[in-house]
């Protein structure tokens, strides 16, 4: 076993805390601004159809290339080897299956959200 490395994990760090609050404030600000523009159910659920496929793709990619992927899966593969790889490949495999079987039939029905489906 490798020797324990000195780490500052778990100790409060002012810069990190300030970054955290700044990030949350900016996110809340954007949410508040967007909420003022949302009027109809269609706008609420699917941005009134105004979000292009490319924009939505980027948003979904941002959702999933997050701490869960970079930290969680990296750690999983590091500790469990190939078994961890199953998880990182698996969620991405589920995406097309959901698209084919669930999202596409709903495409014509009207009220749905992309990320929910």
């Amino acid at each position: 076993m490798s020797p324990l490395l000195a780490t500052s994990l778990g100790e409060p760090n002012l810069t990190s805390i300030l970054f955290f609050f700044a990030f949350v404030s900016v996110t809340m600000g954007i949410t508040w601004w967007a909420a003022r523009k949302t009027k109809t159910a269609s706008e609420f659920l699917t941005a009134g159809g105004n979000v292009t496929a490319l924009q939505n793709g980027f948003a979904l990619a941002g959702d999933y290339m997050s701490a869960a992927s970079f930290l969680g899966i990296a750690g999983l593969v590091a500790t469990s080897g190939f078994d961890g790889l199953i998880y990182s490949v698996g969620w991405l495999v589920g995406w097309p299956v959901v698209t084919f079987l669930i999202a596409e039939p709903l495409r014509n029905l009207g009220k749905f959200t992309f990320a929910d489906v």
């Binding site: 080897g81 190939f82 078994d83 790889l85 199953i86 990182s88 490949v89 698996g90 991405l92 495999v93 995406w95 097309p96 299956v97 698209t99 084919f100 079987l101 596409e104 039939p105």
Partner: protein
């Protein structure tokens, strides 16, 4: 209490058997494609999982330093997912949406 519609009104608004069958045929075509692509995806993925479960040593053989066969195969499964989705998008644009438009316009 629902008011009763007259027979001519019901007949005028009920879709004909022919158009219903046409819609059903297009829907069935889409379901066939969706199921085939889903099965392809799942077979690829579970082949990968079974390979990991039963044959780790050969998956561990190194191609170059730091790169093993298993990682390449994992990337291959991900690329397969991309490819199947891209194929479905192409097929939907080329075949499915036109068929749907044609049925909506009242054709066969």
């Amino acid at each position: 209490m629902t008011p009763e519609l007259s027979v001519p009104a019901v007949a005028a608004t009920t879709p004909s058997n022919e158009s219903t069958n046409a819609v059903r045929a297009v829907a069935a075509m889409r379901w066939r494609m969706a199921i085939v692509l889903s099965l392809l995806m799942l077979v690829t993925y579970f082949a990968f999982v079974l390979g990991i479960a039963f044959d780790k040593p050969s998956l561990g053989t190194l191609i170059t330093q730091g790169l093993s066969v298993g990682i390449v195969l994992g990337a291959g499964v991900i690329l397969t997912a991309f490819g199947l989705t891209a194929f479905y998008a192409w097929w939907a644009n080329r075949v499915y949406d036109p068929a749907l438009d044609q049925v909506a316009r009242g054709g066969k």
